[in-house]
Amino acid sequence: MTDQPTTSSTSGHPPSVSSPRVSSSSASETSSPFNIPVPKDLDKGALWAIFRQREQTLLNRVEAAEASLTEAYGEVAYWQNAFLHRGCTCGTFQTQISDMPDEILALIFHKLNTFEHQNLRKVCARWKDILALPSFTQHLVLSADTYLGYATPFLGARKMREDCASLVGDDIRHITFYSNSRFDNFVSDILGASLGLINRCPKLEHLTFCRLRVIAGWSNWLPETLKSVTIINCTVELALSLGDDDDGDLIAIPKLTVDMTGDREENIRRALVPYFPHTAFHNYV
């Protein structure tokens, strides 16, 4: 223990009095953390220095302990994996994906978007039946990243509309657009690109945008049946301004749900005003 308070003490405090107590307290450290002997004749600044030093030492120890804990857990996992690979005497696992109950398969498929489902539908009848459940057929999930490789955003948008032509229709209740890419050249136009799709879903109720750049000012074009629009981790742009030269601000919004029933324009304005405090709103929405 190099951080005993007495080591930095500059006063004439007899060390012989404090050292036995210190050593005894370090022996049973956890039992009495508040019993560190502090010389009474120190001024406030020196006391602070002692406490800060002590605190830092302990925090460092916690950090080191946590790091070594993570490492130890990682090593345990590694050896367990090796053991499970070999199977040892208990035999290896023969579990196949076909052994999974339908609910589990559905959970796996739920982690994929609608495009990725198309491939899986061709695998076998059972998979096709699972993917015919309402939670799949009523929820169209599209990744904007699929269309990033095109020469211009316009071409990407057109391809998306073509691809989805057979997917949209009466069934769709919920459309989700998301992106995992930082390059939002195309995705900034996602709503414009998707309007053609959205309008072909006469029973659409919810629209979700996740990690995209979206443009406010679209409420008039969305179907009557729409109940809510949710944006998650998006940047919102107040473009499409009515006769205004201003480009509009670009504001990051972690999460926002706009009620689309009733007066839409008013709802949107009320939802967005807190994020755009310096904008004259009547110009935009």
């Binding site: 996992a77 590694y78 052994d99 695998v123 990690r211």
Partner: protein, 191 residues
Amino acid sequence: MSTAASSSTSETIAEPGLKIKVSTKEGEVFELDEKVAKMSQVIRGILEDLGEQNGGDDSVLPLTQVETRIFRKILVWLKYHAGHDKEEAPKAEEDEIIARFCEEIPEWDQKFLNVDQAVILEIMLAADYLDIKKLRGLCCKTVANILKTKTVEQIREMYGIENDFTPEEEEEIRKQTAWCEDEPPRQGSNH
């Protein structure tokens, strides 16, 4: 294994150091910290029911569906995450979207699940049985990430699945999905 504090149940029931005993399919008994055990919603539910009846310390919860070697693996995950995660709040539907499509699997969990798919599926089943949603979700995501990089033929071969469509059905599906027919499977780098 140390014997659990057996002084008086009424006193120890709310103690943070409470140990929960569970037994696996093979009958092996494990002693878990309460915090770790309660990450399983099933165990949490049973404990809450027992708590009202002041259940005894010696009772062992039988987890008859979980093999010991899988339970040991899950235990490591539980212990690691019990120490690292904040108390998990129930997720809103919107947050599910992020978890489903946008979240990457954390590095530690990737290493944890670096096993045969058969083992991942076993862990998934056990996590489902114990109702540990986060672990189940990680397993699902891991398998889904494998699926999305494979062609139909590769998937059938990998899992030994028979093509059980009639030629007519196959033709119908082919028509429905004709637009994505010639697309190569996208690679994992472009999630």
